[in-house]
Amino acid sequence: MANDHDFDKALKQAYQRQKQQHGLSKQDLEQIKAKCRQPKQNKFWQQAQWAMACAGLLFLGALWIQPESEVTHLYALDLTQYDNIEHHGKENGQYTVHITRKQKPQYPDAVQTKHSELLAQARSFHGRIIENNSEFLLIADCKKNTLFEIEKSLLSDLSDLNLDGQLRQGELLALTSNKKGLLVNLTTLNQNQGIYSCP
């Protein structure tokens, strides 16, 4: 070799020539690329699975700690707030009403008189379902003075409503009673009807 520079140049040429002759095929390169893409896809699925598992846990957690629904809370039964409790049921196949009056320290006579007057006339009024269980339906009248406890057996005589599916807590009902204070009809009110005052 004439000098180091030429020698280095010749080495480089020899090296590059071999590289060009014995390189990786296009297929090999594609295979490498495919393998490099693969772990990322797995990672995506891993992350997706983690995300779904976390979402599931959060959902279960939310169900677990969720307080009673707002509706349940809003219309929870509180016997102390009613002046009268009317139990409508059947005894020996006959419709009977039992009325329990709360003893109030002030104006007891006025309240009793008022309620007696109401019972003495046929009327239509609105009420809201407070509870619906297997035995009876609890309805508060719209002024929240009277709580109606209506046995399910009687209810099926008064109305053709679907007692299990249709009557939910908080739902408004239209009730009609006769001069004896016995309920004669009971129907649901459409939400869009908008009840602003008691009839």
Binding site: L11, K19, G23, L24, K35, C36, R37, K40
Partner: protein
Amino acid sequence: MLIALKTWLHKVSPSRDPLEAYQQTGEDVYIEILINTYSQDLFHFLKGQSDGVLAQDICQKTWLTVVEKRHLYRNQQTPKAWLFSIARNALLDEFKKQNRLCSLDEQFHEAASEDKIENKADVMYEAIIALPFLQREALSLQLEGFSLQEIATITNSETETIKTRLRYAKQTLKQRLGDNHGK
């Protein structure tokens, strides 16, 4: 439309380090650019230090390591130097597994082919391949275009050590090829 064009230009801009871009975005397009750009160099270097099958295996491992550990890349290094560092470490690990690391300095490459080598360049390459491992490694890296400092970083050695290895490698080659190439 303009934003899309700008993004596309930014992606394909040759001035942008694709490894840095891959580190930041993780998009497949960048790893594919890197594979297209450096795989042949990497494979050839590895093949010179081992054999075709092992070289291909290590080459693949190197790219998978890049995918996995791209966050470790620091752009003070060139992407090529970083890739070669990973490849060299993977190769040495493989040698350890195969108990071939005990005498790196004494390790010689087996002749790739028993066919009669007539071409002058091929003879020269066979002479490079016949060098001891560390000399061959230093020379191969220099022929790949790395500076002395980069070779020292890739091989975890001192620059002076690399200079010595290169000097010995070239002396040996000149002795072996001297007469033939002097003609």
